[in-house]
């Protein structure tokens, strides 16, 4: 360790000697520059000048720092549980049309969730994860992003895809793994992705996307500078409070801070990681308290208040673009109303009454609906019509997708590399030979092209 540190300090000294040059050399990274010009401790100073902490006061009080519940970071909200604006001097900045768009997106996700959860229960699809209780976080934050801002999601952010333009056919193609799935039927259901809507494909390993977001934000920051006539972009990254325990969370926030990356880290703190309650996940003040430790501007918001999420994201996005770029952490508090997934029965570890209570008392859909009704832009008639129409549209897309074929079997081996390897071509020939020799052992009826599709030269849509 000693040797390692000496390298770092040496590196810093080398840079320190060129301090001024380095600071003026790069306009991209004003916050990346070092924070001291000398590491010497001046005699008689009342403050620390060690290189690791350059502005700490000395004290003779031997006190350990300790977070207390009274110090907990406050939670920003705009609407109360009855959908009333709390601070009358601070009216939500949203048009009626946009509010209705947000509402419809949330309702659409929740109706699709109910139908597809049942579809999994009936064995029509292999797996599903609903967003119940968290529709507001995904839809509200997505509505404050530029449509070209790249997004990295975890898996419980279906509302992002809905808001950005995914059609029900797009969702169903992925869920049923049809030939129209852009993921070519390779990923489990709910692992959506779209270059058209600038959302990177979801992967199952938790938190791996968080350092991706930091790196992508660094790329975007350089591109913002190279193309000053285009709208500057930020990157948004979503994850749950359980994923924040992974090492990748730590790595990502730290590197985003040191490289001053314009990225919004949006944590959905819904109280549970599968069966694990937050008391077994962490003992600090949630996820928000950690942001400050990384030198990241941080805010906590009521995730059941979509207007608060929307406003916070908008302000955070502006902040992220300040001084060329900086990360921001948003912790959105909510409650996972649903089971973790179709493979989980959450009543094995929490009381049904607790869930029912949240469902009834406070959720983002009813809160926005109450606010819209108070503004006379929504009523029972519109509600019934929306729910009936959405349900029908989901079922229509469902029935259509269910009949579609899957991609050609060749898709199982394509795209591992940009070009198939010689070894893969040989293996594909072997696969085809086996299938042709034992035709009764393989059902190719649901794959496009049948046995002819067992080739690496199939045509991608």
């Amino acid at each position: 360790m000693a040797a390692k540190r000496s390298i770092s300090v040496l590196g810093r000294n080398v840079l320190a000697q060129r301090g001024v040059t380095a600071a003026t050399q790069s306009s991209l990274c004003s916050r990346c520059q070092q924070r001291w010009s000398s590491v010497s401790q001046k005699p008689g100073s009342d403050r620390v000048h060690f290189p690791g902490a350059v502005n700490s006061r000395f004290t003779t009080n031997l006190d350990f720092a300790r977070a207390t519940e009274e110090d907990a970071m406050p939670t920003y909200r705009v609407l109360d549980q009855e959908g009333q604006v709390i601070d009358q001097n601070h009216a939500p900045d949203i048009s009626d049309e946009e509010a209705i768009r947000l509402y419809k997106a949330m309702v659409s996700v929740s109706i699709m969730d109910l139908i597809m959860f049942d579809a999994q229960r009936q064995g029509r699809i292999s797996f599903y994860m609903v967003s119940a209780g968290e529709e507001g976080i995904a839809v509200g934050s997505a509505s404050s992003l530029n449509p070209k801002d790249p997004i990295f999601a975890q898996y419980r952010e279906t509302g992002i895809f809905q808001y950005r333009g995914f059609t029900l056919d797009d969702f169903m193609a992925q869920l049923f793994a049809t030939k129209d799935d852009t993921g070519l039927a390779r990923n489990m259901p709910v692992h959506y992705g779209s270059k058209k809507y600038h959302v990177h494909t979801i992967s199952s390993p938790l938190a791996t996307q968080i350092p991706h977001a930091s790196g992508a934000a660094y790329a975007v920051k350089m591109q913002n500078q190279q193309n000053p006539t285009e709208d500057p972009r930020v990157v948004a990254c979503y994850f749950g409070e359980g994923a924040a325990s992974e090492g990748d969370f730590h790595a990502a926030l730290n590197i985003a801070a040191t490289r001053a990356c314009p990225v919004l880290f949006i944590c959905r703190n819904n109280g549970y990681a599968i069966s694990t309650p937050t008391l077994e996940q962490y003992r600090g003040d949630g996820i928000a308290s950690r942001g400050v430790g990384y030198g990241i501007d941080t805010i906590r918001v009521d995730g059941n208040d979509i207007l608060a999420v929307r406003e916070v994201t908008k302000r955070a996005r502006d902040l992220a673009l300040t001084d060329g770029g900086r990360p921001v952490l948003i912790e959105a508090m909510s409650y996972r109303v649903s089971h973790h997934s179709t493979s989980d029965d959450s009543f094995a570890y929490r009381a049904k009454v607790e869930v029912e209570d949240w469902k009834r008392r406070d959720n983002p859909i009813t809160r926005l609906r109450k606010w819209m009704e108070g503004k006379k832009i929504w009523d029972e008639g519109k509600e019934k019509e929306l729910r009936a129409d959405t349900r029908k549209a989901v079922l229509d897309a469902y029935r259509k997708a269910e009949k579609e074929k899957k991609p050609p079997v060749g898709a199982s081996m394509a795209d591992v590399y940009a070009q198939p390897t010689e070894e893969q071509r040989e293996q594909m020939r072997q696969m085809r030979r086996i299938v042709e020799m034992y035709p009764d052992e393989y059902d190719l009826s649901e794959f496009e092209g049948g046995v002819e599709g067992i080739t690496l030269d199939f045509k991608k849509r």
Binding site: A3, G11, S194, I210, G215, Q223, A251, A252, D415
Partner: protein, 393 residues
């Protein structure tokens, strides 16, 4: 994470003298296990003419000049060219800004600015994850892991993310893959690296579809293969044999050029035995085959895999179908090493031609204990013995 024995001074200027002082001494009567003379080995180009005769070079490179460079200087030259010719190229890792603990990134931060060549916090999963993210948004990141021994914290990012992104993105992959991403790491024995400055983990990555794994043996290769890796549409793990950073010196074409990935190179033609290796052990193989050819009146073919995955199966099988005997040599453990895959493939593709069992001369099934390296890493004697065995079988 501990990284003893790697201060810039000790690695940049002391390793090789200290090897001579403490580790390179050989038994007084040794005939086989004598140190490689990099100044005369036929595996390096000792003249400009020899370097420029390489048919794989572009015409421009062949018409140009050469500079005598060691391996770290050749890598520096490739990095410099990549940064100069493509604004999307970024170079980062632990301590790369001041030049790197092995000097591979010397002067690059001052030439290209600290926004393109920079230090990261000390976190391998962060470095590789950051690189994946930069790559999927259109950059060409070159991430450095300070020693291959420390790549394991990034294993998840490599195996589950970098390697699978193109596949899982499906038709989105034309805009959302991580081609252009290169993870560089110094690897292999260095005489006194012990457990955590000696490892050759390439076989772990050859079991990961989606990654390309490249190990150069010389300055000429390091430059050409690194530039090919940066251009590649697939993510590449680029392992640099650190013992060669200063030891291997040869004439390197001054122009930028690429060498093909997934293509083996026949270093020496022969008709009785084929030896397949990559990286540092090729020099040992060369010494062993020179002694064996003299003593045993045989003719040995030497093949450098260069890319260990996806590897050039056809060239290897063609050679063994010609010679009928096959030896695979690598530093890392024999069990499930690269040699296992090569041996199984040769057995399948050359069954009727094989006249002796395929030999694997590789690290024994243990860790790299400090004092035991010369017993652990395949040496000239073990390779010589394997040649003898297959000829006498």
């Amino acid at each position: 994470m501990m990284r003893p024995a790697c201060s810039p001074r000790s690695l940049a200027s002391q390793i090789l003298p200290s090897i001579r002082r403490h580790y390179a001494s050989h038994p007084p009567k040794a005939r086989l296990n004598i140190p490689t003379d990099y100044g005369t080995t036929p595996l390096l180009h000792h003249t400009s003419k020899a370097a420029l005769a390489n048919q794989e070079l572009s015409q421009e490179a062949r018409n140009g000049t050469t500079d005598r460079k060691n391996l770290f200087q050749a890598i520096n030259s490739a990095l410099s060219h990549a940064l100069r010719s493509d604004p999307r190229v970024l170079l980062f890792g632990e301590d790369v800004a001041f030049g790197g603990v092995f000097r591979c990134s010397m002067n690059l931060a001052s030439e290209f600015g600290d926004h393109r060549v920079f230090n990261t916090p000390l976190s391998e999963q962060g470095i590789v994850g950051f690189a994946v993210g930069a790559a999927v948004e259109g950059m060409r990141p070159i991430a450095e892991v300070q020693f291959a021994d420390y790549v394991f914290p990034a294993f998840d990012q490599i195996v589950n993310e970098a390697a699978k992104i193109r596949y899982r993105a499906g038709t989105n992959a034309d805009e959302q893959a991580c081609g252009g991403m290169v993870i560089r790491m110094p690897s292999g024995g260095v005489g006194h690296g012990a457990l955590y400055h000696s490892q050759s983990p390439e076989a772990l990555f050859t079991h990961v579809p989606g990654m390309r794994v490249v190990v150069p043996r010389s300055p000429v290769q390091a430059k050409g293969l690194l530039l090919a890796a940066i251009e590649s549409p697939d993510p590449v793990i680029f392992m640099e044999p650190k013992i060669l950073y200063r030891a291997a010196v040869e004439h390197v074409p001054a122009e930028a050029y690429t060498l093909p990935l997934s293509k083996a190179e026949v270093l020496k033609e022969g008709k009785d035995v084929t030896i397949i290796s990559y990286g540092t052990p090729l020099y040992t193989c060369q010494n062993a085959l020179a002694a064996a050819e003299k003593d045993l009146k045989c003719s040995v073919e030497l093949i450098d895999l260069r890319t260990v995955y996806p590897w050039d199966r056809q060239s290897v099988m063609a050679s063994v179908n010609k010679t009928g005997r096959c030896i695979v040599v690598h530093e890392s453990m024999v069990n499930a090493g690269v040699g296992a895959e090569v041996a199984a493939t040769v057995q399948e593709g050359c069954f009727l031609r094989l006249e002796a069992p395929v030999q694997r001369v590789a690290g024994w099934s243990t860790h790299s204990g400090l004092a035991y390296e010369k017993f652990q890493i395949p040496d000239v004697t073990r390779i010589y013995d394997a040649i003898k065995n297959v000829l006498e079988y």
